[in-house]
Symmetry: C2
Subunit: 211 residues, 2 copies
DNA sequence: TGTACATCAGTGAACGCGCGTTCACTGATGTAC
DNA sequence: TGTACATCAGTGAACGCGCGTTCACTGATGTAC
């Protein structure tokens, strides 16, 4: 009973193409700035063969969102497991930024295409972020007085904050140790504010607020 | 005393180029997807003449950030003035989304390039957002117990939320009236949470929080 | 197992196209006298 | 005011280049008998 060699090779090339695209993205280049030819070249196939796998770069991008979202979700799940006995916010944040640092292209891709690139891709990323937030909400231990709806809303904000800060983090990139410390501090502060707002926001406040 | 006709014409073309670039951006195209030739064409000059004004598209982009940030800042300032006697958050939000709707390309450009495009442009946008947040902080009436530093931090979050939601708003674009209502509702809720978190966050909270 | 045919991922050449950039130029505007 | 020269925004042609896409093809792998 031989397994299908041809099919396996195709899967391999498929993955090579996605990996190639991710690798070719950088500080200055997103999906939209990549050419089909350079991606094919990097993946070790001829440009025409690209079409055996995707009908356009946009389609490759959509596949890449699926892939990246899955990886990020499992990374975060893992981080939550590891941090199970360390509930302090700032140590969780430490883990998170470590992961971002070790998976630059992944986070860069998602951050960049979240508001740029193709509309379909933006929408897919937003859906994926919702999914990640839902998973986070299920794992989050909030006071019993907080409804699941509020927990979910908080987790959506947390995911939003995390991705935005990850994007800023990637631009600091190794150097600027002082700036990175500041960014982490601000992230902790911002997330703490989300928790405070969620937990203390049950009662109506009356203040002169104007925006 | 004749004014300088040649210089005025140059300024005009300069503005035409920036306007052309902004107009050519759309749901699917950011600065990085525009070609020098199409921008020059739209502005009514020959490609080679582009170089009389900018040495690259990136430089045009940087000029565009200055321009857009200034416009958005004055729009927001205006909105705050108009809303001076209507302190309710949701009516301010209403004004804001109206402005976004009437200045799509402006907000689209900033949202898109904030995390995508060229690094220099990202940095310039972030600086501009800081400036806008500072101006907002000065105008914001917070309880006396809140320090200016905390007010500033809140205003930075508000600006961040506003731009992120503006970006999502632009993708709903006219249709999906129900989704737009939901988006506005979520924005109000999110901003309210920022205020609650800021005002009630003075005292330390102790809860089992894990991220 | 061996043979004959089908499948199909990847090839390689070719195409027309728009791109960024260069260059010598033009002619209206500005300046010095 | 009139003249002679300088400036310089915009021109138009040319360049070499990488692009996406098409096509008939190849040859290893898979399948039917």
């Amino acid at each position: 009973m031989k397994i299908n060699k041809r099919y396996q090779q195709k899967l391999k090339t498929h993955q090579n193409l996605m990996f190639a695209a991710l690798s070719l993205m950088s500080e200055e280049k997103g999906l939209g700035e990549l050419s089909l030819r350079e991606v094919a070249g990097e993946a070790g196939i001829v440009p025409a063969a690209f079409y055996r796998h995707f009908k356009s770069m946009e389609e490759l991008g959509l596949a890449l969102v699926d892939d990246s979202a899955e990886k990020i979700a499992s990374i975060l799940k893992d981080a939550r497991k590891k941090g199970a006995y360390r509930s302090a916010l700032h140590s969780s944040i430490g883990y998170f930024f470590d992961y971002v640092s070790k998976n630059r292209s992944l986070f860069r891709f998602i951050s960049r295409e979240r508001n740029g690139g193709y509309k379909k891709i933006r929408e897919k990323i937003r859906t994926a972020m919702e999914t990640i937030a839902s998973e986070l909400a299920l794992d989050m231990r909030m006071p019993k007085s907080i409804s699941f709806a509020d927990t979910l809303f908080a987790s959506q904000m947390i995911v939003g904050v995390a991705f935005q800060r990850a994007s800023e983090f990637l631009d600091l990139d190794g150097k600027d140790h002082q700036d990175i410390r500041k960014l982490k501090f601000l992230t902790v502060k911002q997330l703490r504010l989300v928790f405070v707002g969620t937990i203390r926001g049950r009662k109506r406040i009356r203040t002169k607020i104007k925006v």
